[in-house]
Each structure stands twice: as C-alpha cells, then as structure tokens.
C-alpha cells in the first residue's frame, strides 16, 4: 500500500478513527490495534512477507530477553551474535545472494573458469533493510545496557512493525520510540494539524517533484548512449531532486502520519541541499541511517579515537557499508566510496564539525560564500548520484564521459517549464521554512485561516493533477 494511493487514503482515516474512538480506553488497546493495522499494511504488499516480519520480530524480542537476563558475558554475546547472524543472514540471502554469486562468477571467468552459479529467484521483501536494522539497534542497545529488554511482545512488535516507518524508515531507536509506545498518548490538536500539513508537503515532494523528475530521468538514464551530454547533465540534476523528493517526501508522510497518533518519529532530513560541505550534507541526509552506522559501526570500530588513520579507515568502512546497504550493485558501493572520498578532506583537516548552525541564520539571502558552498556541495552530491542511479558502473562512467566531453547527439531533451517552476518553488519554500521541521509549518504563522486554506487547496490540486500512476518510492527497493 503506497502512501500516495487511494487505498492509503481510506486506510489512514479508518485506523485514526479506530485508534482515537474505538480503542481509546487505554494505550495498550491502541498498541494492539496499531500493531494489527501495521501487519495489514505490510501484508497488503504480499501476505508472505508478514511471516518474515513476524519471525524477525520474535527473534529479536526473544534475543533481547535472553541478553538481558544473562549476566554472563559469553552468553550475552551468544544471543547477540545469534540475532545479528540470523537477521543479517536473511538480509544477505534475499538481497545479496545473487549479487555475490554473479560477482564471484565474473571473477572466476576473468581467470578463464566458467562456473555455473545457481541464482535464486526470490522477491526482495519490502522494507527488509529497514526493519532489520530497527531490530538490530534494539538488541545492540540491550547488549550495551542502554535499555532494558521489552517484556511486552505487543509493544515490541509495534516498535518493529509500526506502519508509518515500516517500509522506508526512518530507522527508529528503541530509546526514542519504545517509551512513546509504553505510555498513553493524548490527542494534541496542534500536532495533529502539523501532521496533516507534513503529509501534504510529503505528497507534494513525492508526486509533484519526484514522480515528474522520474518521467524525465528514467528514459535518459536507461538509454544514456543516445542522449547528449547536456541532457545527461540535466537528468543527473533532476535525479538529485527525484531522490530527495521521493525519500524525504516519504519520511514527511511517515512523520506526519505518526503525529496523528500522538507519536513523534525521528527526523530524517534537514534540508540537505542547503549544506555547505559534504560533512554537513551527511548530517542532514537520511539522518536515521547515518546515525545508525555511527552508533553501531563507526564508534565500535574505534570512531575518531586512535588518530587520523583510524578515522579515515572507519569513515571509509561506514560509507562502503552504507553503499552496500542500499543495494546489491557495484554502483552503490562506488557511490559510498565517492562520498567517503569527498568527505576525507574535512575529516583529515578536522573541519567536519563546521557548519553546525542553520545556513544564513535569519537572513533571507545567503552570502556569496554560502551560496558558492551550497552550489559546490550540491554539484558534488549530483556527481555521486550518477553512480547511485546508473544501471551499471559502465553506464555511470559512460554518462560522466558524455557529460564532461560535451557529447552531442540527435537526442536532446529538456524538462518541462512546469517541472522547473515546481522545483524552484519547492526550494524557495524550503529555504524560507528552513528553521522549521518542514516548510509548511511556517504557514501556521499566516494570519488568516482562509489564506492558509486556499494554499492547502492549491497544493492539493497540484498533487491531484500530477498524480495518477502510483509510482513506487525509490527506497522501497532497499
């Protein structure tokens, strides 16, 4: 069930009404209802996925209890390794088996051998990377004694399967979400309205920006050899907006939806394209994943302790793993590598903690220096996105070659004026609202409610105009 589908438009109000009216006697009833709704939501994709989700949930729940009840270090480690091993095992089989099999076969073929590697024909369960990491963060936190084990299976199941974040994050932490699940929620009018505004903004980014960019980007990237360099450059830039609109749009809908139930989720994006350097970009893009890797990989590897070489090594490791997390293709790994390379200067020079404040503060216009920094950072990210989007390494280098060599061809394409205007409008709204969680929150300051309503209707009409084919969210494939 996609967030931008009619089915969800019916599902959400039904769950909302049940949550606040039928199951409002106590929060435990609400938790049961939300958990069931979440499983229905997930099963809507494919009912078979539900068993995997249930198994993963129960595995981590049980491992968590076992880790917590054991004081013996070796036993605790055993249950941790069991949970991590099985979770990553499932992830490895569903997501990476074919990649390793075919890469290994290619490697052997390079030595003149022709192995017959069996590949498996299996559907990648939607959201598996997200809820696997969700569950892993829980067992790690128990092992590190940050949180006690959750004894209530319903509460824990809800933490893992909570439908707004189930298929594409944000990757929540038990320390943040579980306490909210374990206490009564009180309906807050302001938060609920904020939730609706955030959903509207998320839909705008997904339907108006991301899906329309996709219509331009997909044929160009899939047939790059036939397009000229300028079209490929435009497509690369549009992909940057496509993936941002798609993923941050999804996150906004998830956060907005959750606000309707009185639950706050972790913010996942903080206007990353206004970043002044790559380090700042990675503090603002897919925050829940970056912080997951920082807490559960970078720091256990030694983090920033042990000098520059340790920092460089650990930074490369987390970016490569992050690339690998995104998908079973060398392009994702290389994308991670490139990002690590681009962030290296700031790591070595220890300038990666600059630019912590909001760019341009309260000023309407950034300074020239800030504008140049923003543009350069954006262009670096666009360069990396080429690898992220390309179908293969060969295609990625082919695209870059055609862009930088200025290859001309019969096929030249430009985006529509409407799309260009919409992207500029989005950037302006985000710039003006960059102090807020999401730009539309700014609109609550508009004096007259009819002006706000008119703006909401205008946005809704735009969303309706551009909708129609329920394009899948990019991050569902991860």
């Amino acid at each position: 069930m996609l967030f931008n589908s009619t089915t969800y438009l019916i599902f959400l109000p039904v769950v909302f009404i049940l949550y606040w009216f039928a199951f409002n006697k106590n929060y435990k009833q609400q938790n049961i209802m939300l958990m069931m709704a979440s499983y229905i939501f997930y099963g809507w994709w494919d009912w078979r996925f539900v068993f995997l989700l249930a198994f993963s949930t129960f595995l981590d729940y049980w491992s968590g209890l076992k880790i917590a009840e054991n004081e013996n270090g070796r036993r605790r480690k055993f249950w941790l390794i069991l949970s991590v091993g099985i979770n990553l095992g499932f992830l490895g089989v569903f997501k990476y088996y074919n990649f390793f099999a075919s890469s290994f076969a290619e490697l052997l073929a390079g030595f003149g051998l022709q192995p017959h590697m069996a590949t498996i024909n299996v559907i990648l369960p939607v959201g598996i990377s997200f809820y696997t990491f969700h569950g892993l963060s829980y067992v790690f936190d128990i092992y590190n004694r940050r949180i006690p084990a959750e004894k209530n299976i319903v509460d824990y199941s809800l933490f893992v399967s909570y439908f707004p974040l189930l298929v594409a994050g944000p990757i929540e932490r038990a320390t943040h979400l579980l306490p909210q699940v374990q206490r009564p929620r009180i309906f807050d009018y302001g938060k609920a309205v904020d939730g609706l505004r955030q959903i509207l903004w998320g839909l705008f980014k997904k339907v108006v920006i991301a899906d329309q960019c996709a219509a331009f980007v997909n044929p160009v990237f899939n047939n790059y050899e036939t397009y000229d360099g300028s079209t490929l450059a435009i497509a690369a830039v549009l992909f940057a907006f496509q993936i941002y609109g798609d993923f941050s749009g999804y996150s906004d809908i998830a956060l907005g939806t959750s606000r309707l139930f009185g639950i706050e989720l972790l913010r996942n994006f903080r206007y990353p394209y206004f970043s002044r350097d790559i380090a700042e970009f990675w503090r603002r893009w897919h925050i829940s994943l970056s912080s997951w890797f920082k807490d559960y990989l970078y720091i256990p590897l030694g983090g920033s302790r042990g000098g520059n070489w340790m920092r460089i090594r650990n930074t490369f490791i987390i970016f490569l793993v992050s690339g690998f997390w995104h998908g079973a293709n060398w392009t994702f790994i290389f994308w991670g590598f490139l990002n690590a390379l681009f962030i290296m200067p700031s790591i070595i020079l220890k300038t990666n903690r600059n630019n912590l404040e909001i760019v341009a503060g309260d000023r309407l216009i950034p300074s020239l220096k800030e504008a140049i920094q923003i543009l350069m950072t954006f262009l670096l990210s666009v360069f990396c996105w080429i690898f992220f989007r390309a179908n293969s390494m060969e295609a990625a280098f082919g695209i870059i070659g055609r862009i930088f060599m200025g290859v001309s061809s019969e096929k030249h394409s430009v985006p529509s004026l409407v799309l260009s205007v919409m992207i500029i409008a989005m950037l302006i709204m985000e710039w003006l609202g960059r102090q807020e969680d999401f730009p539309l929150r700014h609109w609550r300051l508009l004096k007259h409610s009819y002006v706000r309503f008119a703006l909401y209707i205008a946005m809704f009409i735009l969303i309706l105009y551009f909708s129609g084919e329920d394009e899948q969210f990019i991050y569902f494939q991860f």
Partner: protein, 288 residues
Amino acid sequence: MKKFIKKTVLFSLALWLLLLSALMALNAVADARFNYNLGRDTNTLILGDSHTLCALDDKLIPNAVNLSESADPYFFSYVKAERFINASPEIKTIVLGYAPHNLTTEQDSWLFSKAINKKKLPFYAFLLKNSLLADYVKLNPEAYFTNSVRIIKADLGHLYRISKGASVNEFGIGTHLSLTTKSEKEVFHIGEQGDIKYSEGEDLKYLKKLYYLCKRKKIKLVLISTPLMGSHPTEPLKKYASDNLPLAEFLDLTTFLKDPSLFADSGHVNKWGAEKTSVAVASWLRKK
C-alpha cells in the same frame, strides 16, 4: 479532537465540492458547445484502437471520419458511437476495429488501467453524459476522481478549441495517425490458436452494446481486422461475431498485406500500408 475532525471534514468537503462543481460545470459547457454533427457528407464513422487509428486514412475513404484512438477499449468506442450517431443522422456505417487481441483480457486491462485512464479520461470526460457517466464511475470510480483536475484542464482546452473552430480530430478523442517507419522483416508470428487467451471481460459488453445501438438505429456495423504481420487465427473472431453479433459484417484484412515494409511494426501499418488498406476498404464499402 472534535475541532480537528470538524475542520478536516469541512476542508475535504470544500475541496471536493469545488473540484466536482468545476468539473461538472465545465463538462456540461464543453458538451453543450461541442459540435457532434459530423456534417451532411459524413456517412461512415471509424472507431477502434491503434490498429484502425493507423490503418484507415479517412481522407482516402469517402465520407468517412476516423475517431480511433490508441488503446481505446470498446467502452469509449461505444461512448463515441452513441454521442455522434445521435447528432449525425447521416451516419449509416460504423467501421469498428476487431482484432484478435480485442477478444482477450487486454481489453479490460485498457479499461481499468490507471495509466491509460490518466491519458484518455481528461479528453473523453465531456462525452460521458448521464448513463454513460454512471457506467464509467461504476467501472472506475477512483479514476474519475483522481483525474478530476486533469479533466478540468482538458475541458478548458476543449473550450478553447471549440472557440477556434477546431475539427473533431483535434480534441484528442480520435483521428488517423500516419506512421512513417518501415519494418524490415516479419517480427511477430502467432501460429497457434493457443497463443491467444480469449476471454470475455467487462469491456466486451460494450462491443455488444454498440452492436445493439447500431441495430436500433439501423446502422451497418462493419467489424474490421486490419492487416497484421504474420499469420493470425481469425476463426475465434468469426465465431464470436456470428454467435453474438450476427447482423454485423466481418471484414478480415489480417492477411491483406504481405510486404513487411508496409508495416511500422507487427500490429500497425505505416502510411504506405494505410494507403493500400484504406483504398481497399473504400472500395469494399462502395460495393456494399
């Protein structure tokens, strides 16, 4: 909570009321101002999907207007037939595309496809009046509402075209399309009847409705299978027509063209193929 629900419901109602009012009003105006009369000279109406769209050049078939459109399910052919026949009493013949794929579930996939409805419905919406609108909304309630803004935009475009005196082929509801590519070789072949899975879905009901409309109005219905590359089983077409549409005439031109260079692809003739096909159809109609 009450305030939240009240405001949300009021907002939703206001929004949908605004959209539906604009939609209905513009549809009504476009429908009222559109000239459904194809003229005294027009006695043949050509309908169907991309096969008739490409194969039948109405400039080469005397007194004919081609309102075929790519991926048109029979529902829309029926809508066009009903709206134009009622205003054009001179129409004595309807030539309707009738190919092997038209008896398969592909027809229903066109009728219910989100992508196809997103493209077509905005242009066709003003044609949907009364029972036709009720039928469509029953079949595709979601499509009608999710395309409401696009319908409004298309209606404004129609009104503009009406004000400029545009011909019926300029409204996005049908025309003849001249393809200029040439296929080098035979690329498509159905040898066995089992290759096509025939079924009778929702859309074929509208083929029958069209048949009965023609019968009521004493209009000759000609079911035409336009030229295809390779060999295709036409027995199921003949059988279906004789069982369900006995008064309709079946004009089988599937093997009329042999030269691959007269085709743009396996199912669509190019402009040179259309020339030959159209002349043949004109000649056939003259004899009748």
